[in-house]
């Protein structure tokens, strides 16, 4: 008897307020959007095979590139880990029956789906040709796509993020099991708490900006129209005030998942617990003060650019602290190379490279040369795809037995992890080079001397696309044919591993009382693998 078999009617799924079922509903929606965005990316890479960009017309390329951006940012990366693993694991990790506001949680899924459908309508009906950044005055006076539909779609899905953020913050504060102090919380919860803070504080600014954008588009009231006194930089300020913290929303849960994986698969407590915990909060707070580094060449005042440059260097320090602490955790550990650990190793390498190239863009003079080129594209893909998506797959595999009660096929999972790592590097490393050489972003055609690197990148993209299909395949297979999963297949000390897999609807028979910290592993001899 578990939450899956507890009633299997359409109503029991569509009107459920069980955080575990809502997590599965989200998992399905997220996967759909991931493959939609991926299809747009495949079209872009195919088009860039030749300098003339023969596969897509200029108009179609612009709309495809915007669609890839909008779907990936708002409908996959921002929600991914918080709404799937977060929704499922947070109550289990803190010993609670459910989140603080279960009905709000279901509403957040419906808002996400409605927002997604409205945005999808906008894109299918004709798409938007402004890029996912919607800069004025191009988006307000010179674009002739379905901007209003896409903006309304994102606006609605924004409230789904706010609802999820609100739920997590209140739950982690108020519904912890007796004895579970803040410093006994698993670090995945610290990173989700920091993510929720950003979701709560940044998304409203995006909501207001989208209202102004739609008003400007419908009534041409001239707020961002420079010919009648409007200031285009105001749009950029408000946009990046949301969008930079949003990229920390995307990566922070990944940092949390990797901290859990590194500790679980080296059977060792996380090194420097307090530093890793508070570095998540530091990233969330300082992440709000750095948005100006997107506007170094946009005509922002010189003195403000200096201020934002120093703050952007500061925000990189907590991430460095996390990487060093992971390495110190591995020291003197018992490292096992299961699939999630391969994803974690890939994450550490790629996230570090992504972070370092971010420093290139924070240094003012270097940014003048590198911004708006493929160097920036490679930088954020290293962190988003190399970092965030690897952590998403790592976490998905790590908690798969707990979510579905089935074990995934280990060999296939390792093959997929390695294939994804190499496909990714072949896709995005060449982009650093053509970025330094000056190939601009969002070009559907380019000078012939950049072709060799684009061909390499497209080859890599095809490997990556195939590699992403593998987990989809064998995980679905494991739902029916996978081995039955024990309560604690990895021998991890987390609270979620003390219940059965898949858990009961009410999670725990009775609420546990916590007496010691989150990462104390039983002595080495007492445990066999696959328990």
């Amino acid at each position: 008897m578990n939450y899956l078999t507890n009633g299997w009617t359409i109503r029991s799924w569509l009107l459920t307020i069980d955080h575990k079922r809502i997590a599965l509903l989200y998992l399905g929606t997220i996967t759909l959007f991931f493959f939609l965005g991926g299809a747009a990316a495949a079209a872009i890479r195919l088009n860039l095979l030749t300098p003339a960009g023969a596969f897509l017309s200029a108009e179609a390329y612009n709309r495809m590139m915007t669609m890839h951006g909008v779907i990936m940012v708002w409908f996959f990366l921002v929600p991914a880990i918080p709404v799937t693993m977060g929704n499922f694991i947070v109550p289990l990790m803190i010993g609670a029956r459910d989140l603080a506001f279960p009905r709000l949680n279901l509403m957040s899924w419906y808002l996400f789906v409605i927002g997604g459908l409205v945005a999808l309508y906008g894109m299918v009906a004709g798409g938007v040709d402004t890029g996912w950044t919607f800069y004025a005055p191009l988006s307000t006076a010179f674009s002739h796509g379905h901007l209003v539909a896409v903006a309304v779609g994102i606006f609605i899905s924004g409230f789904s993020s706010i609802a999820t953020g609100l739920n997590f913050v209140v739950t982690i504060h108020r519904l912890r099991a007796p004895g579970l102090t803040w410093y006994r919380l698993p670090l995945f919860l610290w990173s989700l708490y920091a993510t929720s803070l950003i979701l709560l504080l940044a998304t409203p600014v995006l909501a207001m900006l989208l209202i102004l954008l739609v008003l400007e588009n419908l009534f041409h009231i001239g707020l961002f129209d420079p010919t009648i006194g409007g200031d285009p930089l105001l749009f950029q300020h408000l946009f990046w005030f949301y969008s930079h913290p949003a990229v920390y929303v995307m990566i922070l849960p990944g940092l949390g998942v990797v901290t859990e994986l590194v500790s679980a698969y080296s059977r060792k407590a996380v090194f420097g617990y307090k530093f890793v915990a508070w570095s998540s909060i530091a990233i969330a707070v300082v992440g709000f003060f750095v948005w100006g580094h997107h506007m170094f060449v946009a005509g922002q005042s010189l003195y403000t650019s200096l201020l934002f440059s120093i703050l952007s260097f500061l925000v990189a320090v907590p991430s460095a602290i996390k990487v060093f602490n992971w390495l110190a955790t591995l020291h003197k550990g018992y490292i096992r190379f299961d699939a999630p650990m391969l994803y974690a190793f890939g994450f550490i390498g790629l996230f570090t490279l992504g972070g370092l190239t971010g420093l290139f863009l924070a240094a003012l003079a270097a940014d003048v040369h590198l911004t708006q080129t493929y160097f920036v594209v490679a930088h954020f893909h290293y962190i988003m795809v190399g970092g965030m998506v690897s952590a998403y797959f790592g976490g998905l595999h790590y908690w798969w037995p707990k979510i579905t009660g089935r074990m995934y096929p280990e060999m296939w999972a390792r093959v997929a992890a390695i294939l994804i790592f190499f496909g990714f590097n072949l896709t995005f490393f060449p982009q650093f080079i053509i970025g330094y050489l000056g190939m601009p972003r969002r070009y559907h055609a380019y000078p012939p001397e950049f072709q060799i690197f684009n061909v390499l990148s497209t080859a890599g993209a095809s490997i990556l696309a195939l590699a992403y299909l593998l987990p989809f395949g064998y995980l679905t297979w494991s739902l029916f044919k996978g081995a039955r999963a024990p309560a604690n297949p990895w021998g991890s000390p987390g609270l979620e591993w003390t219940t059965q897999s898949p858990p009961l609807t009410e999670n725990f028979v009775e609420i546990p009382v916590i007496t010691e910290g989150p990462y104390n592993y039983p002595p080495r001899e007492g445990l066999s693998r696959h328990g």
């Binding site: 950044t133 800069y135 010179f142 440059s309 003197k332 490292i335 290139f360 003079a365 040369h369 969002r442």
Partner: protein, 292 residues
């Protein structure tokens, strides 16, 4: 391959390259450290190995303070280096040759002070600072020359300036790097850096209907500016020679939107003078003050 800027072809560009190579070296060192440690630990502490794992420490203030302060020091150094070069990039030398650039949806219109006009192409002399005074007629564009390691957004409704001093003759790519609509990819061309002699030869070979300043005089008269500004009038308008030294952006706002600064006696010329004519007027006003 022409236009392939492995080495920077401008004074500030060379310095930007030094910063980029230094950061690359630092990143290479950090990556070597991280990947090295990952590899060592993966082999040494794999589950089956017999390595000694006695008394593993859970935390160590020395290590934490150590690597945090190390990163802070390195980052602060990189910030200073980048900021110093950025400020120098922002200060235009006074003897720079002004070239006027108007970006419009999907082409660059360039005007030289002596009246030569170019579309999607720019000819500049070697070894002399050149200042680009840029504006846009519709959306935000970005005038980018990767070989010279410079770019700057070109916003409608205001002037943005950028300068460089080329050090190597040759042909380099010019791109628009701020997304501006359908033919964003087609909006570019070639920047040709020539020796001083070739440059003057090229200038004279171009057909021109008078220097910008003379054309500016025509715009000045056509719009009746002389009524107040010739000093005869009683309207208290400043003689133009006295405002010649004011930067172009200030002149532009004073001409197009005087009312925004409380100047009620001068009518607003917004919408009555196009961007090209405004550049000519600027050149004319500046020529009255004996040039810069």
């Amino acid at each position: 391959m022409t236009g392939f800027p492995y080495t920077a072809a401008s004074t500030t560009g060379a310095e930007t390259d030094y910063l980029l190579w230094a950061m690359l070296a630092a990143s290479f060192a950090v990556m070597a450290l991280v990947l090295g440690l990952l590899l060592i630990y993966a082999i040494r502490y794999r589950e089956a190995s017999r390595a000694d794992r006695s008394n593993p420490e859970g935390k160590s203030w020395v290590l934490e303070i150590g690597w945090t302060s190390a990163t802070l020091v390195v980052f602060f150094g990189l910030f200073l280096w980048g900021a110093d070069l950025y400020v120098r990039l922002d200060r235009v030398p006074d003897d720079a040759l002004p070239i006027y650039v108007v970006g419009k949806q999907w082409m660059w219109k360039i005007e030289h002070p002596d009246g030569q006009r170019e579309i999607n192409a720019l000819h500049v002399p070697l070894g002399r600072p050149v200042e680009l005074i840029m504006t846009s007629e519709d959306v935000i564009h970005d005038f980018a020359i990767p070989a010279l390691r410079i770019k700057h957004d070109v916003l409608p409704g205001r002037y943005d300036t950028m300068w460089f001093q080329a050090t190597e003759a040759g042909e380099y790519h010019l791109f628009c790097t701020q997304f501006c609509g359908t033919d964003h990819a087609a909006m570019g061309g070639m920047v040709t850096v020539m020796s001083e002699a070739d440059y003057t030869a090229w200038l004279s070979s171009q057909q021109t209907d008078g220097s910008l300043a003379s054309l500016g005089r025509a715009v000045y008269l056509k719009n009746g500016c002389d009524g107040c500004h010739d000093g005869r009038g009683t309207s208290g308008a400043p003689p133009l020679a006295s405002v010649a030294g004011i930067p172009e952006s200030s002149l532009r706002d004073a001409i197009l939107h005087p009312e925004r600064k409380g100047e009620v006696r001068m009518p607003s010329f917004s919408g009555r003078i196009g961007e090209d004519d405004l550049f000519k007027l600027m050149a004319y006003i500046k020529s009255l003050g004996g040039g810069r």
